[in-house]
């Protein structure tokens, strides 16, 4: 199109009353910095660990909320339009990444105010073994395998997520950077201590074979180099024959004496395992807010469970 032609198009097209508006938000034009300095940032998170980290780091500068109602699992939660509207108006949205909260993929979240806290280690996600993948045609596009989501169970990865949260908060509220740094350092010290605790606990028992009943333990296993084999077993339902067969087969193959569970298994599964000399280790992934305590106390409790379990090991 010639320049004159374009000029005419623009002349004809460009008419409209003033009303395009200017950038919204604060004096510096950033929508995310639109609040007065003494208002707390409204921060939405997709799971409890992020909530804990954000509160530890943000302190009084943040009002951390979750779109997940009480009693609902954040792993399977999907927001309705009201919840999405609340998310869209948040100052910050903290995602876990690693495909936790699949609903994010189909939801319209504000680009600039949404942060993937695990983006810095996205090349180190754990792919779940034996997950179903599909492709369109033999050479066509394919889906990737499922990704393990519980990144926060590895204290070193949790630390990276905490760092990302600190940076996101500081970007939104630069004048509180010092407070965020202080909160982060405090949390980092606790996470590092937690990491050392787990290292110490498992140092002498690296080779103890374990069955993991879900991919929730993938990051832990990788971090502390556990001898873990994953056999997906749903603790909420009693084992059927096929499930029992797969489980006992794996137990036998790897001479396993312990099965890692995210919660106590329903029905007689535990009893059946006991009867063949296999015990259960309930290690809470702390995905949702605990009835009592917090992330650290839950992880401490998990550590104590491991201590008790490995105390019997040679």
């Amino acid at each position: 199109m010639s320049r004159l032609g374009i000029a005419w198009v623009v002349l004809l097209v460009g008419c409209g009353q003033p009303g395009d508006g200017t950038t919204t938000g604060g004096a510096d034009g950033d929508p995310a910095a639109g609040l007065a300095a003494n208002d707390a940032l409204s921060v939405y998170v997709v799971n409890y660990p992020l909530e804990y980290f954000a509160e530890r780091i943000g302190g009084e500068h943040v009002d951390v909320r979750s779109p997940v109602p009480d009693g609902v699992s954040s792993a399977s939660f999907s927001p309705d339009t009201d919840a999405i509207a609340a998310l869209q108006s948040a100052d910050l949205i903290l995602l876990n990444g690693a495909t936790f909260a699949k609903w994010v993929e189909t939801t319209a979240l504000p680009t600039t105010r949404t942060f993937d806290t695990s983006a810095s280690f996205s090349d180190r996600y754990v792919t779940v073994e034996n997950a179903v993948v599909h492709s369109h045609g033999p050479e066509g596009e394919h889906s990737h395998g499922e990704t393990a989501v519980t990144t926060w169970l590895d204290p070193t990865l949790a630390l990276e997520q905490a760092r990302a949260i600190r940076d996101a908060l500081a970007g939104a509220r630069p004048d509180a950077r010092a407070d965020f740094d202080a909160g982060y350092e405090s949390l980092a010290a606790d996470l590092q201590a937690l990491d050392e605790r787990f290292e110490e606990i498992t140092r002498d028992h690296l080779d103890v074979p374990l069955i993991a009943s879900s991919s929730a333990f993938a990051y832990l296993a990788r971090r502390y180099e556990w001898n873990v084999h994953t056999v997906p077993v749903d603790p909420d339902h009693a084992l059927d024959d096929d499930g029992w067969h797969d489980l006992t087969h794996a137990i036998e193959d790897h001479a396993v004496r312990h099965v890692l569970w995210t919660k106590s298994p329903e029905g007689d599964t535990a009893a059946r395992l006991e009867s063949i000399g296999v015990g259960g280790i309930v290690f809470s992934p702390c995905t949702d807010r605990p009835a009592a305590g917090d992330y650290l106390s839950v992880m401490e409790s998990n550590a104590a469970t491991l201590v008790r379990t490995f105390a019997d090991e040679p």
Partner: protein
């Protein structure tokens, strides 16, 4: 004077065709340059405002004008897309918040603008009915689109295929209207807005289909080996996103390569803007356009065109005035007998002369007044008129 004006009025009314032609000619030659100047000034103002409200536009290397027109006015051929990774790159600088744009598809002639909800915040667009889009497959209409389609919240629209023969590529997606914007008197009134991921669904990068791992999907399965399933072409793909099937929608490929036509950046200050532009100064694949500059150059061209038109209009105006003067003088000649009669029966010189001149004066004054009214109307409604002409 009153009597003379009465007689002049009767004369003009009797010769109404001649009077109307003269009146319209004079009105036009007076209005044309003035009205054009008003229109151009308005257009310039609005172009400038929209451009200044869009500080920086990032896009693939190419014509800054084409990039700006596509991003600001949703017109023109869409520019060569760039990857979504470019948005992340800009965000990582921490220098400016950004809004992604994918303006490529249309529905019933109206552009579908794939973007994020921050677009509405930066453009200060208010929702008149319903709400902003929250999920894939939802869309929000500009006020004028809703009016022209007779659409309401809850209705649906379907994207138009770019290429009727590309059956394996993008295909029509049915989108539900969840909101209608308030009238904004800007190109936003004429657009359909959806989340950028929705436009990627239209593109065919993402899709939703029946779960191939389910038992009743066997007819759609080409092969199954361990945990790897290969679907065949008969697999049913959803062309509408509902609450029931939204979980089935997914994207194939790496999001960093998913297409954007532009990224609008809103640096908070001059320093951030300069730093951001500086980082891309020698980038080989990405250009940074400043719409205020691009439109400024265009406005210079428009003003040049306008000058030529005004000059032409002035020349035509002079010719028209000369013609009008000729008509008046011929009219006087034709009325010579009438003038003689009026003098004979005792008409005063002043009355007779003013009667003859009144014809000219009334037409001229009416022309000036009418031109003035048209100019005022143009300043009030000119933009609306031009938009209507453009849409015709």
């Amino acid at each position: 004077m009153k009597q003379t004006l009465y007689l002049a009025w009767r004369y003009l009314a009797f010769h109404r065709v001649k009077t109307m032609i003269l009146l319209l000619s004079i009105t036009l030659i007076l209005f044309l340059p003035v009205g054009l100047r008003v229109l151009v000034n308005q257009s310039s103002l609005q172009l400038t405002e929209r451009a200044e409200a869009t500080p920086l536009v990032f896009g693939s290397k190419g014509s800054p004008l084409e990039l700006s027109l596509n991003t600001l006015y949703f017109r023109s051929d869409f520019p060569e897309p760039m990857g979504h990774e470019e948005q992340e790159r800009i965000l990582e600088t921490g220098l400016a918040p950004v809004v992604p744009m994918y303006v490529r598809y249309h529905s019933q002639g109206h552009p579908i603008v794939g973007t994020s909800i921050e677009y509405f915040e930066h453009r200060a667009l208010a929702v008149g009915a319903g709400r902003l889009f929250a999920k894939l497959g939802e869309c929000v209409l500009g006020a004028r689109v809703a009016r022209s389609l007779g659409a309401e919240v809850g209705d649906a629209i379907i994207s138009s295929p770019e290429n009727l023969f590309d059956l394996a590529g993008e295909y029509p997606l049915k989108m539900v209207i969840v909101g209608i914007l308030d009238h904004a008197d800007s190109p936003d009134d004429d657009a359909i807005f959806a989340d950028i991921k929705t436009t990627w669904i239209i593109e065919g990068i993402g899709h939703g289909h029946q779960d191939v791992s389910e038992q009743d999907a066997t007819s759609a399965v080409l092969s199954r080996e361990d945990n790897r399933i290969v679907a065949n072409a008969s697999i049913v793909q959803f062309n509408e996103i509902t609450d029931e099937n939204v979980g089935a929608f997914h994207f194939h490929g790496d999001i960093s390569h998913f297409p954007l036509t532009a990224v609008i950046a809103f640096p908070p200050d001059q320093k951030a803007s300069a730093l951001l532009q500086g980082r891309y100064q020698s980038d080989e694949s990405i250009q940074v356009a400043r719409p205020s500059e691009v439109m400024g150059e265009l406005l210079d061209t428009i003003l040049t065109i306008e000058s030529f038109i005004v000059a032409g209009a002035v020349l035509v105006g002079l010719a028209t005035l000369a013609s009008a003067a000729l008509v008046f003088s011929l009219s006087l000649r034709l009325r010579r007998r009438e003038i003689e009669t009026l003098f004979k029966i005792g008409g005063s010189r002043a009355s007779v002369i003013s009667l003859m001149l009144s014809e000219m004066v009334v037409v001229l004054v009416s022309g000036v007044v009418l031109a003035g009214v048209l100019t005022v109307l143009t300043s009030q409604y000119g933009a609306v008129l031009v938009r209507a002409l453009v849409r015709m």
